[in-house]
């Protein structure tokens, strides 16, 4: 399992999660707005962190070690999807098996939930063979008792089994560094305070271990 990014050790001043994709436009036409083609099959996750400040030598060294482990994108790291008020103490599982790339799933709320799932709720699928994958509820199709049928994005990255655990407490995603310009390496001022203005990560798809 890859190490997780520690927001406690390296706090950030800005955080931007987004779903990335490949959309190609044919341009405007005389008779209408033209056509868009979406080629990504559901997209992938990207996150941009901003404003990391390194004030002590211990922090600077830890950051350097982190960058070496990330290996210009060849290494992997688990990025947590942070919220203002994260869920805690919840347990949930899939109420039915779902195929690879499914976008409609059934989730049973076992404990700790105050009500049905809401659109925009993030969760990750804990599968040690296929790493942690982040998904977000797009809309709730129906609710029967404690089972919600929801539409999710991005599509499932692997098939899931009946009763497989779903993690709403600490949703996260396996990612790699995307830093072609070398901006992750800090710039130091005269007081040896290092600053990293921007740091980007992209969802990664390694083969199962």
């Amino acid at each position: 399992m890859a190490d997780a990014y520690s927001f406690a050790t390296f706090p950030v001043s800005s955080l931007n999660w987004r779903r990335l994709g490949t959309v190609i436009s044919g341009g405007p036409t005389l008779s209408g707005p033209g056509q868009l083609g979406k080629f990504d099959g559901g997209g992938w996750w990207g996150v941009e962190l901003g404003g990391v400040v390194l004030e002590t030598q211990a922090e600077r060294r830890a950051w350097t070690a982190l960058l070496l482990a990330l290996d210009e994108g060849l290494g992997q790291i688990e990025m947590g999807y942070l919220e203002e008020t994260p869920m805690s103490g919840t347990t949930a599982r899939f109420a039915a098996a779902a195929a690879d790339r499914a976008t409609t799933v059934q989730i049973e709320r076992q404990s700790g939930f105050s009500g049905p799932l809401q659109p925009g709720t993030p969760f990750s699928v804990a599968n040690s063979a296929a790493y942690d994958r982040l998904h977000i509820v797009k809309r709730v199709v129906s609710t029967v008792g404690s089972v919600d049928t929801v539409e999710i994005r991005v599509p499932l990255r692997q098939a899931v089994a009946l009763n497989q655990a779903v993690d709403f407490n600490a949703p996260r995603c396996l990612m790699r560094l995307d830093d072609p310009e070398g901006e992750a390496w800090p710039t130091f001022d005269g007081t040896w305070t290092g600053s990293v203005p921007r740091l980007r990560f992209l969802e990664v798809f390694p083969p199962p271990p």
């Binding site: 490949t22 868009l36 099959g41 060849l74 790339r101 990255r157 969802e203």
Partner: protein, 198 residues
């Protein structure tokens, strides 16, 4: 090619300006190369081209120069170079098999439309078939580029990169066809066209 290319539902979506094409490449090498233009994996059911009922296509992101949908007019042959730009190590490993095993293999291009729920909205349409005749690997500014040159026939006046007039190459394209198996018997011999006396 006969029959509808896409269903009426997909034609309606396409006319509304919302299409979600998923493009697929299958090369019948050993092991089989299966790639598609999205991310993550894509299970593809068994059909006339895909012979494995558990086939899973690997997402390799944007494939450059994917052949557009064109008909061969008057039998004119075409050549295309399919490229993967900025590939990561895992994707590149797909194509870095034994070079001799890639050359001469059948390559199929397929397409299907996904619906608004990102699920297949029609069956796979294998719209183009060709033969791999060259493998290309380049590195530009630290980025890897991998390409396959695929021809649908003899495409230039010069001698083509690949000829099929030996049994081993012919077997790659048509396994089990013994049409050229006795060709070695004709090596280094001059056959004269018979002259019939009147």
């Amino acid at each position: 090619m006969s029959g509808p290319i896409i269903s009426e539902d997909m034609a309606e979506l396409a006319s509304a300006g919302q299409i979600r094409p998923a493009l697929f490449l299958r090369v019948a090498s050993t092991p089989v190369i299966r790639a598609w233009t999205g991310v993550s994996t894509f299970p593809v059911p068994e059909d006339s081209v895909e012979t494995d009922e558990n086939a899973v296509y690997r997402g390799v992101g944007l494939i450059t120069n994917f052949p557009v949908v064109e008909a061969l007019i008057n039998g004119v042959a075409q050549r295309m170079e399919v490229g993967l730009s900025g590939v990561d190590a895992e994707a590149l490993a797909l194509f870095q098999g034994d070079k001799t095993d890639l050359i001469g293999r059948v390559a199929n291009f397929g397409m299907m439309f996904l619906g608004p729920d990102e699920q297949p909205a029609c069956s796979m349409w294998w719209y183009r078939r060709g033969i791999v005749d060259r493998r290309i690997i380049r590195r530009r500014n630290g980025s890897r580029y991998f390409g396959l040159s695929i021809g649908t026939g003899r495409t230039d006046r010069r001698r083509p990169h690949l000829s099929f007039w030996i049994d081993q190459e012919h077997q790659k394209q048509y396994p089990g066809d013994l049409g050229l198996s006795r060709l070695p018997l004709h090596q280094n011999r001059t056959r004269k066209w018979p002259r019939w006396s009147s």
